[in-house]
Amino acid sequence: MNKTIIVLFFLCCATSVIAQVPKVSVSGTMGISYEGYGLDRNPAGWTGYTPRRPWNQVRFNFMPNFQFGKNFSLPFNINLAALPTNFAGPYSGFIPGGPKQNFKQWMTNPVNNIAVNPKYKWAELQLGTQYLRYSELSTGDIGVFGAGFDLKPGQYRIKFFTGTSQPGINYFAGPPLPGITGAFKRNNWMFQIGKEKEDKYEVAFNFAKGKDLISSSAPPPLTIKPQEGFVISMITNVHFNKGWYVKLEGAQSVFTTDLNTASSLLIKSFEPFIKAHTATIRDYAATGSLGKKGKNFDIGISSKYFGAGFQTVGYPYLQPDRLDYTINTKLNTWKNKMNIVASLGQRVNNISNTTLKANQFIGNLNWFTQFNDKWSLNVNYNNFGFQTASGLNPYGIKNVSNDLGISPTYTWSNTKMMHLLSLSYNYSKYDERDVLTGLTTSNNTHTALLTYVPSFFTKDVTPDFSLMYFYNDVPMAKTTLATLSSGLSMPVAKKKVQLRGQLQYNLTKLNSFKSDNNLIASCSVDWKITKQFSWNTYLSTNYFKYGNSVIPAGANYLESTCRTGFQYKFDTKKNK
């Protein structure tokens, strides 16, 4: 509640400051939009297709940046949604008609963002929900609602932030199903101290911690355990002459995967930051890259190591226990008419040997050549392989993927228009070995796309046409898909209104079943009412009718989306 008062206080201060100071410039945007979704399924009662958007949603954004003179700025970042639509994560299950969230939960729900960052010269105050990225191994993915600062006196860097990344949410079995996953309240803090000279070097130490409060939810979540984690890292980035650079980061994490477990003296604590339990683990991670960036030639080597026990609360989806190394290169040659981008790498999973070791090979190549004014060719090749030992099974896992794409493009023009004709063909082969029988299943896909785009020199109409053929062949299933699509874009009403439309027809055939038919139509109308004020509307409808590949035969659905919104662009500088 105290944090809320602080935010409101700042909003009031900002308003009063704006009222008092006459010379103020504002940039940024604000707006409101409505999104409606409809789904009509036939025959009545058929549930073979489920809704995939909220039925109604209103979103509001307020993101102005008030600039007072040269040194003081007050940027707001407020994005709100009227209805929670959380699906993954601790908030998952908040659905219309279910239990309501309280005010604190609403404020810290990731669907909403309320933040203001007043800045005076090198000092920035950070209030509200902030997605702060200190480094690759410490913290960066999670939004935290709280308060902190970012100070940059001279070449020094001092950052601190503390707050709540999720409030306590009680487990709720439902109905309505699926109920609410629930969560423990998690408090976080993070701190960085370092020195930086832009485009020269950066050295910094990062500290980040998060801890769940066990008593914060009743009943507690069924599948989520209360956790505590602390990470310390050091980053060193150096940029040399002629484009050479070195970037390094090393980190150690101490993480308790279940705070309900007993305290342990056998495991070393990292006090005063974290006390050991029997479920506490401690491991290391490191990243490094070395390379050269140039106008026509880039080359770089990068490597990442994550120990099996490396976990941070700042990157909850990070996959540990792996070693990646990659070589990347980019080359522009032949007077910039040839462009080659390639990468080659390997990933080794289970370096700790807590599970079977798995090797992945990854290779990518993209080669573009502009032969002359008319002809160009793009070739790309992607490969990855994945292999493990057999373990308890008779055979190990072995998956190999190969993709080859060739895309020639031809352009020609006359005095009135230019034509672009592009053909793209892609062959994809994916082999999977069964660990019990040793038999390999091949999954082959052919994709061909023909695109024609005429551009008129004297008219504002821009149409495009495309035809796609897709064929996928796996044992027991052969799928053919053909798509015809056309789009049109044009300004009207003295270019104040931009119209765009698209029509797409798909025909899908599975084995010997009757074909499925699909028609998608969409359009958008962007009306620039004034220089700052615009009204954007988007409509889309999707009609799908099955042949007899599902029961009941002939089942169909009509899905429609409507989005309309007003947007105001602050831009006092240009007005003056």
Binding site: T223, N349, N350, T354, L356
Partner: protein
């Protein structure tokens, strides 16, 4: 005289047997790799302690973890172990929290290092041996009972296609997008379900914020294979033509984030204490762009 000696011997034997405690140990063949998780699941380890009326002493549980060649890699520190008082003539049921209290088990060598780092032992076959000992002399109070088990931590899938920040051609992606990922390692004894989730990243949203707050456009359960071809049935046309729009400009197209949630045969997350606790693989983002528009802008 011989008869008297025989009777005395018989009585001593009977008394000795009566003062022994029968134990019955059951252990899951493939328990969770993280040893601290054993205490959360009652089906992992059960020890039934049945004592006769003659038992009038306290006991401690002596547990040893061994490799299959008999090398002891972890054992109970009896000095700090909890004391139990068997109920005379009744059975007591204990679980992993009592039999394998990690705060009292001392591991050695590389196994200790692995456990401290990861909470797991190296993937291998192991044996757990349990015996009750009297307090305070630690004399055997039951026979030694052993069971074997296999430990291997599941490693969640890595997302392969679309690769991170890959730009897909709108004309193809509006009809079909191919998703590929690596399988769970090691292959599970029961079928796992890969739940493929795709979220649209809306304007002004961060990548992971979209994953944690939006309704997915695709929520598909896939069993037995690591590829799925999605027919999005979406107009990939951006919502607005505004070029300054963050995630929805004609050049950038639309932006999506996808992940795989791996579920066991009961529909529960496979690894509940690793990372996010939801068994969600590290997500990746991809763009669907109009390559013709993007190409023109570049020119």
């Amino acid at each position: 005289m011989k008869k008297i000696i025989a009777i005395v011997c018989f009585m001593i034997t009977v008394q000795s047997l009566l003062s022994q405690i029968n134990i019955n140990l059951t252990v899951a063949g493939r328990p969770p790799a993280r040893l601290s998780d054993w205490a959360n699941r009652r089906d992992v380890l059960t020890l039934i302690m049945g004592s006769s009326q003659a038992v009038r002493f306290d006991v401690k549980i002596k547990t040893e973890i061994k490799t299959l060649d008999g090398t002891v890699i972890g054992a109970t520190n009896l000095n700090t172990a909890k004391t139990y008082t068997p109920l005379a003539g009744a059975s007591t049921i204990l679980n992993a929290l009592d039999v394998l209290p990690l705060e009292n088990i001392v591991f050695t060598g590389k196994h200790q290092t692995a456990l401290l780092k990861t909470g797991k032992l190296p993937a291998d076959n192991y044996m757990i041996c349990v015996q009750l000992v009297r307090v305070p002399d630690y004399a055997p109070a039951s026979a030694v009972t052993c069971k074997t088990f296999y430990l291997a931590a599941y490693q969640l899938p890595t997302l392969m296609l679309p690769s991170n920040e890959q730009e897909l051609n709108k004309s193809i992606a509006q009809s079909a997008i191919t998703f590929r990922w690596t399988p769970v390692v090691p292959a599970s004894t029961t079928p796992v379900t890969y739940r493929l989730l795709v979220f649209e990243i809306l304007e002004n949203q961060k990548d992971v914020q979209a994953l944690r707050s939006n309704q997915p456009l695709l929520d598909k359960n896939i069993v037995g294979t690591t590829q799925f071809i999605w027919q999005p049935q979406l107009s990939m046309m951006p919502y607005t033509a505004a070029a300054d729009s963050l995630n929805a400009s004609p050049q950038k197209g639309k932006k999506f984030i996808w992940t795989i949630q791996t579920l066991d045969n009961l529909g529960q997350p496979l690894n509940q204490t690793d990372g996010n606790g939801e068994s969600m693989s590290e997500p990746k983002v991809f763009f669907v762009i109009d390559k013709n528009v993007a190409g023109k802008k570049k020119e």
